[in-house]
Structures are given as structure tokens and as C-alpha cells.
């Protein structure tokens, strides 16, 4: 906590002071977070519009006349100055409207390209928020399964390697994480498709029809996450095992197991939370995008990658805003959780 509390707080009870600090923390961090997300939105918004590639060409198809393209561009507001477009976009978002896809129809299929200019009215297009709502459960399912699988491998191995800093557990952890981290996820995906699906027919692989379709993609996600988790867990645990309290506790008659589970893991949780927040979520997100693309898994990643190829600005913008919001808020949550686990840290 701050060295000098504000004078008002002096008159409050300790619990209230704690709450006031928590409130101050959240207000400050959330306002910073909103600014960050706004800046990210502006960067992506501008990038999309200054990059080559005209969305009207894809909306109307290769046969469209220049005048029809110009008309569509004007109707979509793409010819206005970028700051004007951005403010209008923000205004719409404030009303809860994230816009409609340029390309995708209400039924989920991709339209565009083939029809004439007259039928390309934006009202027929799917709302971006609906597209995302439809894709999000798949992404969450994949993320959860991948993360659980990674935990199954890395938590025992990480703890073991951390407690015995020399000898075989430490070597195994080093080799295994160096091995996993050296496997490019695109390649692992293809190898697993070949071994578990194409060759043997054990598991389904492409698309999504039932829960079985999530297994191979989840393994690929887990292979990507495991090395980072093993490493951060073993480093965090090792740091605490070296501290004097570990040996003192044992001298005072606590078993090594009790020390480990009651004290070491609690202290190790803070650095772990930090690395899980910043690093893991970014990695998980990147991994999910790529894995969904490899397996044609109908989540947010596939939606976004297709949107980029189709110049579907509203979809890309919304995904970028959501993704950075998630990153920012997880970081806030992690910082807050660290301070409640370890009171020595400042808000």
C-alpha cells in the first residue's frame, strides 16, 4: 500500500480502508484499461483502412463497376476521414452496436462476390456480435480443454523439478520443455492429424460435429502451453524452496509435504499468476487462432482469419477490441489477486 494514505482514510476502520484501496485500485486500473483498449481499437481501425485491399471489391465481386463500388464504399462510410469514421464507430459501440459483417449473411454462410450491388444491403448481413457469440463457445471449449491437459502434465512435473533443483526431475523438466517448445504448432497439428486421424481413424479431426472433435486440437494447444507452464512453475517453486522458511519449517517438525502444499505453493502462486496473466493469455490466444485454422475449428480464430482475407473490417475490429479487453482485464485481475495472496505487494 501507499506509504501515505490520504487524510480521509485515517478516520476509517481497517476493513474500510482496505476496501477503499481496492476501490481506488479498480477505478484507476479500469480507467487506464479503457484508454488502452481505445488506443488498440484506433490502431487496428487505422491499420485496416490504410492497408491496401478494398473491401468493396470483395463485397461486390470482381465484376462490379467502379461506380457501384464507390456507392457501396460511401454507404459503408469508408470514404470519410478516418477520425470521423472512428468516432462514428465508437458512437455505435456506445449504443451496443458493433456493426454488421461486410460479407457474412444472417445464416452464417459467406455471401458476397456473386450477387449484384442491389442486394448487398447491410441489413441482410449478420451482426458481428452474433457471429462472435456463435463462435465463442467453441473457442472457450478448446481453450479450457487445452489448458486442463497442459495442467495435467506441467503441474506435477513443474513442482517436482522445482523442489529438486538438481538431478533427474530438473533435467526431465528442462528436456521436456525444451522439446515441447521446439515443436511448431502447425506441424504438431498435421502430425497428429496424420497419426491419430488419417492413418488410424481413431479420432475425428477437421471441423466440429461433436465433443470428440476437440481432442486433437486441445492436445496441440496443450503442447504449446506446457513448456511455459513447466518452466514458470519450477522457477517459482524453486525460488521458495531456497528461502530460509522452507528449512526452518522442516526443522520445526513440519513434513516436507506440508511445507510444500501449505507454504511453498502459496508463495509461488504470485509469480505464477503474473506470468499466467500476461504471457499465457497472449500465448493461448495466438495458439487458439492457429489451431482453429489448422483444424477448421469454428471458433473466433477461424472467424478472424477468414475475416482478414475477406477484408471484413467490422469483424476484425470487434475481435481486436474484445481480445485486448480480455488481456487488459486479466492483467488487472491478476494484479489484484497477487495483492490479496501476498499482502506485501502494493496495489
Amino acid at each position: 500500500m501507499r506509504a501515505s494514505a490520504s487524510p480521509v482514510l485515517v478516520f476509517l476502520s481497517p476493513d474500510k480502508i482496505k476496501m477503499a484501496f481496492a476501490l481506488e485500485f479498480f477505478l484507476r486500473r479500469i480507467s487506464q484499461g479503457v484508454l488502452i483498449v481505445l488506443a488498440v481499437a484506433f490502431v487496428i481501425f487505422t491499420l485496416l483502412r490504410i492497408a491496401p485491399g478494398d473491401p468493396t471489391r470483395i463485397i461486390l465481386g470482381p465484376m462490379a463497376t467502379p461506380s457501384a463500388m464507390e456507392e457501396t464504399a460511401q454507404r459503408l462510410g469508408l470514404r470519410d476521414p478516418i477520425p470521423v469514421q472512428f468516432l462514428r464507430y465508437l458512437g455505435d459501440i456506445a449504443k451496443g452496436d458493433f456493426g454488421n459483417s461486410f460479407i457474412r449473411g444472417k445464416q452464417g454462410g459467406t455471401t458476397g462476390g456473386s450477387q449484384d450491388a442491389g442486394s448487398a444491403a447491410p441489413v441482410e448481413r449478420a451482426a458481428v456480435i452474433e457471429l462472435i457469440a456463435r463462435a465463442l463457445p467453441y473457442t472457450l471449449l478448446l481453450a479450457a480443454c487445452g489448458f486442463l491437459l497442459a495442467c495435467l502434465v506441467s503441474i506435477p512435473l513443474g513442482i517436482l523439478a522445482g523442489v529438486r533443483n538438481r538431478g533427474w526431475p530438473q533435467k526431465t523438466a528442462l528436456y521436456l520443455s525444451s522439446f515441447f517448445v521446439s515443436l511448431p504448432n502447425v506441424w504438431v497439428g498435421i502430425v497428429l492429424i496424420y497419426l491419430l486421424s488419417a492413418r488410424t481413424g481413431w479420432l475425428p479431426a477437421i471441423g466440429y460435429q461433436h465433443i470428440g472433435y476437440v481432442i486433437i486440437p486441445a492436445i496441440v494447444v496443450a503442447v504449446e502451453l506446457a513448456p511455459v507452464m513447466i518452466r514458470s512453475i519450477s522457477v517459482a517453486v524453486a525460488g521458495n524452496v531456497q528461502e530460509p522458511f522452507y528449512e526452518i519449517g522442516q526443522v520445526r517438525g513440519l513434513s516436507a509435504r506440508a511445507m510444500l502444499f501449505r507454504h511453498v505453493l502459496r508463495n509461488a502462486a504470485v509469480p505464477l499468476l503474473n506470468s499466467f496473466g500476461a504471457q499465457m493469455i497472449g500465448m493461448l490466444l495466438g495458439g487458439l487462432f492457429v489451431v482453429e485454422y489448422i483444424f477448421s475449428f469454428p471458433g473466433i480464430g477461424l472467424l478472424t482469419i477468414n475475416a482478414v482475407f475477406q477484408r471484413d473490417f467490422p469483424v476484425i475490429q470487434t475481435v481486436a477490441i474484445f481480445a485486448s479487453t480480455v488481456l487488459v482485464f486479466i492483467n488487472i485481475a491478476v494484479d489484484f489477486a497477487s495483492t490479496t495472496i501476498d499482502r506485501r505487494l502494493k496495489f
Binding site: 528442462l174 521446439s182 500476461a278
Partner: protein
């Protein structure tokens, strides 16, 4: 925002700066893993450099008669196509080696650039403090809140990807972490005697940053940057796979792997074999980086 990094914290005492870095290297070199990894890395570098001159085949010339040849150790394989050929009859070993060279180049160049850019900004930010520091760190916050993959597919998917834009995207997404680490070390370093002494004898800020702070804090960060080279190489493969990497006919791992997926059942080697080569290269880099990092932590903690 709390960015956990094992690299943060106070580093070597400057008076022994040289010797600490040398000790880290010496300790790392003592481990057998380091020797194996270095030898493997050197061998792969030599292969990518000289392989194309030795192998009597073409990486881009289409030859229908030679398509789908398996590697020589399998039935039906024949020389000079040591690792077989792809769906267009191009030599896979040669294509993989050129792909590896491109991946090495993109990985190394992008990490060097993000290291230089990030550390320069970080040292400047930490040394200056005040508003400069606040503004620069807010920029890193913003940059780190854009997921790499979204930034990459937005920029590369929209423009015509080429090596320069690919490196630019990687540098853009990678510099903030270096800036943060360099800043946090500089904050501690700025208080030390030798910096105050340098200031008292009239050294300029630029000189202090370049000649005094940078040499003492950068090597420990650089040791870990080896790991990032491997990460950037994976990104390069991902970009190629999605179709936003270096464009054909130049061979890259991503395009080789994605091109072979359609023929997985009949010609698995097109995707599997080049991937093994890439995994070997990444493994050597990661092992080197891992050993260097462990040695650095041991030395800085005073355990060895």
C-alpha cells in the same frame, strides 16, 4: 501492469560486469547440453549455407516425373532426392534447407532489431524517468495489449507480405518486453555509484547510457534473447502456413507444410520430414537458451 519476467531485477555489479558475463558463459559451456546444442546449431547453419551448392537438384523447378518420391531410406526413393520430393517434384531437403535459412534470417534479424529497439527505449525511459517514462511505458502497455497474432494477420493479411513486413511485424510485437526488462534494470542501475561518478566527472547522458549502463545490463538480457529467435522462427512458420508469410515460390516451412497437407495419406513425408528439420533447429536454439538462462540465474543468485 505487472509483467513477470525472470530477467527483471538487479543484475551484475558493474565493476565485475565483464567477468560475470564470462562466468555465465563458462558455466553454460560446462554443461554437455550446451555443447550438443551448439554443435547441432553450427551443423545446421553449415548445411543451410553449403547444402544448396552440394545437392544436385532445384528447390523451385517443377518436375512432374519426380513427384511424390519418398526419402531414400524408403522403398522407391532415389538420389539425389535424399528426403524425397513434394507434390510438384521439387527436392524436399533442398527446399527445407532454404526454408531453414529464411527462418534463421528472419528470426535472427527480427530478434536483433527488437532487442536493440526495445533496450534503447527501455534504457532511455528508465534513465530519464518522469513524463518520458510514463508515456513510453503506456505505449508498451498498448502494444502488449494487442495480441501478436491479431496484429500479424491484420498487417500481413492486408498487405502483400514480404520479408521486410514480416520482420517489421515481429519487431513491432516483440520490442515492448525488452523495453520493460531494460527499463526495470536501468532504474536500479541509475542509483549506483558508478553512474553518479560518471555524472560528476561530466559525462553526458547519452554517454552514460551507451558506455556505462548498456554494457553492464545488456548481456544478461541477450543470453535469453536466444529463446526468442526460436519463437520468431515458429511465427514465421505459422505465417507461411496461413498464407501470410514469404510468398511462393520461395520455400518456407509454413508453405511446405501447408502444401503437403492435401497429400498426407499418400505422401506423409512432404509435411513430416521438413517439420523434423525445423524442430531440430528450434530444439538446438531452445536448449542453448535454456542452459544460458539457467546459468545466468545460478550466477546472479550466487549459487555457483
Amino acid at each position: 501492469m505487472a509483467i513477470a519476467s525472470s530477467s527483471a531485477g538487479s543484475f551484475a555489479t558493474p565493476a565485475r560486469g565483464q567477468s560475470v558475463n564470462a562466468r555465465i558463459l563458462r558455466l553454460a559451456w560446462r554443461s554437455p547440453e550446451m555443447k550438443v546444442a551448439t554443435a547441432l546449431f553450427a551443423a545446421l547453419c553449415l548445411l543451410t549455407l553449403f547444402g544448396p551448392f552440394i545437392i544436385d537438384a532445384s528447390a523451385t523447378k517443377i518436375s512432374v516425373a519426380d513427384k511424390f518420391l519418398p526419402p531414400v531410406f524408403m522403398e522407391g526413393g532415389r538420389l539425389p532426392h535424399f528426403l524425397g520430393t513434394d507434390q510438384l517434384g521439387r527436392d524436399l531437403l533442398l527446399r527445407s534447407l532454404i526454408g531453414l535459412r529464411n527462418a534463421f534470417l528472419i528470426g535472427i534479424i527480427s530478434v536483433v532489431l527488437m532487442f536493440v529497439l526495445g533496450c534503447a527505449i527501455g534504457i532511455f525511459s528508465g534513465y530519464r524517468g518522469g513524463w518520458t517514462d510514463v508515456v513510453l511505458m503506456r505505449i508498451t502497455d498498448i502494444q502488449m495489449s494487442i495480441p501478436v497474432i491479431i496484429l500479424a494477420i491484420t498487417i500481413l493479411g492486408m498487405s502483400r507480405p514480404n520479408p521486410v513486413t514480416i520482420i517489421a511485424v515481429l519487431v513491432l510485437s516483440g520490442w515492448p518486453i525488452y523495453a520493460r526488462v531494460a527499463r526495470s534494470v536501468t532504474l536500479a542501475e541509475r542509483q549506483k555509484e558508478y553512474v553518479r561518478a560518471a555524472r560528476i566527472i561530466g559525462a553526458s547522458d547519452l554517454r552514460i547510457m551507451l558506455r556505462h549502463i548498456a554494457p553492464s545490463i545488456l548481456p544478461p538480457i541477450a543470453f535469453v534473447a536466444v529463446l526468442d529467435v526460436a519463437r520468431m522462427m515458429i511465427f514465421e512458420a505459422i505465417f507461411g502456413f496461413i498464407g501470410i508469410g514469404i510468398q511462393p515460390p520461395t520455400p518456407t516451412f509454413g508453405t511446405i507444410i501447408s502444401g503437403g497437407t492435401q497429400y498426407l495419406l499418400n505422401a506423409w513425408w512432404i509435411t513430416i520430414v521438413p517439420g523434423c528439420l525445423l524442430a531440430l533447429a528450434l530444439g538446438s536454439l531452445n536448449l542453448m537458451g535454456g542452459v544460458l538462462e539457467r546459468s545466468r540465474n545460478l550466477i546472479l543468485q550466487g549459487a555457483a
